[in-house]
C-alpha cells in the first residue's frame, strides 16, 4: 500500500472535554487496531478538508486509538464535529515514543502545558500500569483558565488512587480558583524529586517546554532524561514531504519525542 493512503476508521466514541476540545476513539472499519506506543502520533484525515498529525492521548479498552483534538484549524474543527459512526482516514501510528520503561527506578516528572497533557496521558497511564517500578511521580500541568483544564476527573484519580503528586497552575484564574497562578515552571519548586535520579516527560508549547527543560537541567536533571514532544507542520508523517525538519531531524521519523540533549541547541536557534 502507498504510504500516503489512509485506512478507513470509524468514530467509536466522542467525548467533549472542553468548549473547543473533543476526545475521539477511532477504530478501523475492518481489521484489528494497530499497535501504538506512548507519544506516537497518527495522521488523521477529514474527508475533503485535510489531514493533520495528532498525538495519541490514549488507548481504548478495545484497542481503539484515542485522540484529544482542539478545534484550532480547518481540519481539527472538522474532526471535532465528527460523531460516533462517522468515517475518518488514519495513517500510522508513526514516530518515536516516550521511553517510559527506561524511567524505571527513577523519580518521574510529567510536565504539561495546555493540550500537551493529551499525549502525556498515555505516559501517566503507562506509569500507573507499573506504578511500583517508579519512585516519586509528579504531574505538573499548566492551563490557560480553570475551565480549559483537560481530564479533571482523571487527574483526581491519579492523585487519589495512584500516589501521584498532581498539581495544576492557571494563567488566568477565575474568582473561585483556589490554586496557584502563573507558568508551569513555578510548580517545579513545589514538587519533590531527586534531580540526578529523575526522568522528565514534557509536552506543551515549545517556549514552555524549553523553560521547563532548562529549569530541570539547572536543578541537575540530565538533559538526556528530559523527553520533549515537538510539533511542526507535517504533510506526510513518513519522511517524504520535508515540512517537519528541525535541522538534521525529520521530526516525523526522528520525533516527535526527542530528548533535550539532542534538541536543546537546535531549539535555541531562532527560526530553525
Amino acid at each position: 500500500m502507498h504510504p500516503m493512503t489512509p485506512v478507513p476508521y470509524r468514530v467509536r466514541s466522542r467525548r467533549p472535554d472542553r468548549a473547543d476540545t473533543v476526545t475521539l476513539a477511532l477504530e478501523p472499519v475492518s481489521g484489528p487496531c494497530p499497535f501504538s506506543l506512548p507519544g506516537q502520533f497518527t495522521m488523521v484525515y477529514a474527508h475533503g478538508v485535510g489531514e493533520i498529525p495528532i498525538s495519541l492521548s490514549g488507548r481504548g479498552r478495545t484497542g481503539a486509538l484515542v485522540h484529544t483534538i482542539r478545534a484550532v484549524g480547518a481540519v481539527s474543527q472538522a474532526l471535532c464535529r465528527k460523531r460516533p459512526g462517522d468515517l475518518v482516514g488514519v495513517r500510522g501510528p508513526y514516530g518515536t515514543a516516550f521511553d517510559v520503561a527506561g524511567a524505571a527506578g527513577l523519580d518521574v516528572v510529567v510536565a504539561a502545558g495546555g493540550l500537551g497533557l493529551a499525549p502525556l496521558r498515555t505516559v501517566v497511564r503507562e506509569l500507573i500500569a507499573h506504578r511500583s517500578r517508579y519512585g516519586r511521580i509528579s504531574v505538573i500541568a499548566g492551563t490557560r483558565t480553570p475551565m480549559t483544564l483537560l481530564y479533571p476527573r482523571e487527574l483526581d484519580r491519579w492523585r487519589m488512587a495512584h500516589d501521584i503528586d498532581v498539581q495544576v497552575i492557571v494563567d488566568h484564574p477565575d474568582h473561585i480558583w483556589p490554586g496557584p497562578v502563573g507558568l508551569v515552571t513555578k510548580l517545579i519548586d513545589r514538587i519533590v524529586f531527586a534531580p540526578r535520579r529523575t526522568a522528565a516527560f514534557v509536552c506543551g508549547p515549545e517556549i514552555m517546554m524549553r523553560a521547563v527543560a532548562d529549569d530541570l537541567m539547572a536543578r541537575g536533571v540530565p538533559a538526556r532524561r528530559i523527553a520533549l514532544s515537538l510539533e511542526r507542520n507535517m504533510k506526510c508523517g513518513v519522511g517524504r514531504c520535508g515540512h517537519c525538519q528541525l535541522g538534521p531531524l525529520l521530526l516525523c521519523l526522528d520525533g516527535p519525542v526527542v530528548d533535550y540533549e539532542r534538541v536543546g541547541g537546535l531549539l535555541a536557534v531562532r527560526e530553525l
Partner: protein, 379 residues
C-alpha cells in the same frame, strides 16, 4: 538500492560504437518505450518526447551564468554539447502533481498512477546521482510503490558531458562529469567521424545494444571517449570546497552572510523547482460538486513558501526569508547527510542559472565558510 535492474559501474559487455542514434531510438520504441530527449523549446533545451534524431538539438549549445541562460548556435553536428537543461529526471521520477487516493462515501480507494515506459535519452552524470538521492528518499523507511514502478519503467541513457556549463560543479560534488553507475546505457558522443561509444549498465541495456548495428570500440574510440570526460572535468564553471561542510555549515547559523543573501533572495522557489533532488511536497484535496467524492493529490512544494512551516494559530516557524534560505542551503549541503546519508547537492548548477537574482550557492558557501558577510559582486 536495486531499481530497474541496474548493475552498477561494470559494463555487461565491452564498449561498442554506434554510428547513428536512429536505430537505438527505433529499438527503444519497438521495446515499448516513449523516447524522451533534449529538444529546443521555449528558447531552452527541454526534455520532450522525440520520434527521431531529427528532433535532437544539433549544433545547439548553451551559455549559463548566475541568473542567465541563453542558447548558442554552434552549427556543428554535435547533438549533446550543452549543459544541464532546466528539466531534470525529477519530472519523471516524481511528477509535479500525482494523485494519491479517492474517498467516496465509506471507501478509500488508492489511485494507481501510471508508470509510463519512458526512455530518457541524454541524462547527465549529475542527474543519475540525483536519481540515486531520490531513491533514498522514496524507497527508504516507508517505500513508495508508485515511485518504484515509475523508476523501474524508466530506461536511462546517459550521455557523458563534453561541455559543462558556467554554473556546473559536479566534480566538487563527486558526481561527474562521467556517468559511472545507475544507467542502462552510457554514451559518449565523438566527432569526426560523428559516432557514439556505448557502455551497457544493465541487462536490458545490453539487450537493446545487441539488437542494433554496432561494432566493437577500438583503442582510438576508447581514448577519444576518455578524453571527452577528462577535458570536461577541467572545464567546471564553479567549485565548492565540501571538506567538513556537514559540521561547519550548520554551525554557521549566525553568519552575517545569511542577512546578506536574504536581501537578494526573492523566495521565488525557482531553485527548488529546478533542483533535481528537492523532493518536498504538499497535499491538496479536490472535492466534486456533490461533496461526495474527494481526490487527494501530492504536488511539489518548496521550503521557500511562507506556509511551509505554518501551524494553526501560530506564525510560521521560518517567517523570514533569511531562515528559509538558511534552511534550504544547510539542508542541501549538510543536514541531508543526517537524514539520507548523502549530500543533497549533485553539482548540476541549475539553482544558480535559474535564480532570477543570480544567487550562486558556491559563492554563498565560500563566504559563509570564510566568515565574511560581504557580497563579492552585486548584480
Amino acid at each position: 538500492m536495486s531499481v530497474g535492474g541496474s548493475v552498477g559501474g561494470n559494463a555487461l559487455m565491452d564498449t561498442v560504437v554506434i554510428e547513428s542514434l536512429e536505430p537505438l531510438i527505433a529499438a527503444l520504441q519497438s521495446a515499448g518505450y516513449a523516447v524522451v530527449g533534449p529538444t529546443v523549446k521555449d528558447a531552452a533545451v527541454r526534455m520532450a518526447e522525440i520520434s527521431s534524431v531529427e528532433d535532437l538539438p544539433a549544433g545547439v549549445g548553451d551559455v549559463q551564468r548566475p541568473g542567465n541562460y541563453r542558447l548558442a548556435e554552434r552549427g556543428d553536428e554535435m547533438l549533446f554539447d550543452f549543459a544541464a537543461s532546466p528539466d531534470s529526471a525529477k519530472r519523471f521520477t516524481q511528477p509535479p502533481r500525482q494523485r494519491l487516493f479517492r474517498m467516496r462515501g465509506q471507501t478509500i480507494e488508492e489511485v494507481r498512477e501510471k508508470a509510463p515506459r519512458v526512455a530518457l535519452l541524454g541524462v547527465r552524470a549529475c542527474d543519475l546521482a540525483a536519481i540515486a538521492v531520490q531513491d533514498r528518499v522514496f524507497l527508504g523507511r516507508h517505500p513508495d510503490p508508485t515511485y518504484r514502478r515509475r523508476r523501474e519503467a524508466l530506461f536511462l541513457i546517459a550521455v557523458n558531458c563534453a561541455v559543462p556549463g558556467g554554473t556546473c560543479f559536479c566534480v566538487s560534488m563527486g558526481t561527474g562529469p562521467k556517468a559511472t553507475t545507475g544507467f542502462d546505457l552510457a554514451l559518449t558522443e565523438l566527432a569526426s567521424p560523428h559516432r557514439f561509444t556505448v557502455e551497457s549498465g544493465s541487462e536490458r541495456g545490453a539487450q537493446i545494444v545487441a539488437a542494433i548495428p554496432h561494432r566493437p570500440a577500438d583503442q582510438g574510440d576508447l581514448t577519444a571517449a576518455e578524453e571527452v570526460s577528462r577535458i570536461a572535468a577541467t572545464r567546471m564553471g564553479r567549485h565548492v570546497d565540501t571538506e567538513g561542510i556537514q559540521q561547519w555549515l550548520p554551525a554557521a547559523h549566525d553568519s552575517p552572510r545569511w542577512t546578506d543573501v536574504a536581501s537578494r533572495c526573492l523566495s521565488c522557489t525557482n531553485c527548488t523547482m529546478v533542483c533535481p533532488t528537492c523532493f518536498c511536497s504538499t497535499v491538496e484535496d479536490i472535492t466534486d460538486l456533490t461533496g461526495e467524492v474527494t481526490e487527494r493529490s501530492e504536488r511539489w512544494d518548496s521550503c521557500f513558501s511562507l506556509d511551509f512551516t505554518e501551524l494553526s494559530g501560530q506564525p510560521p516557524v521560518r517567517s523570514s526569508a533569511l531562515a528559509r534560505y538558511r534552511q534550504w542551503l544547510t539542508h542541501k549541503f549538510a543536514t541531508w547527510y543526517d537524514q539520507f546519508g548523502t549530500s543533497g547537492c549533485v553539482g548540476c548548477g541549475r539553482c544558480i542559472t535559474w535564480c532570477p537574482t543570480g544567487i550562486d550557492v558556491t559563492e554563498e558557501l565560500s563566504a559563509i565558510r570564510d566568515g565574511t558577510g560581504e557580497t563579492s559582486c552585486i548584480r
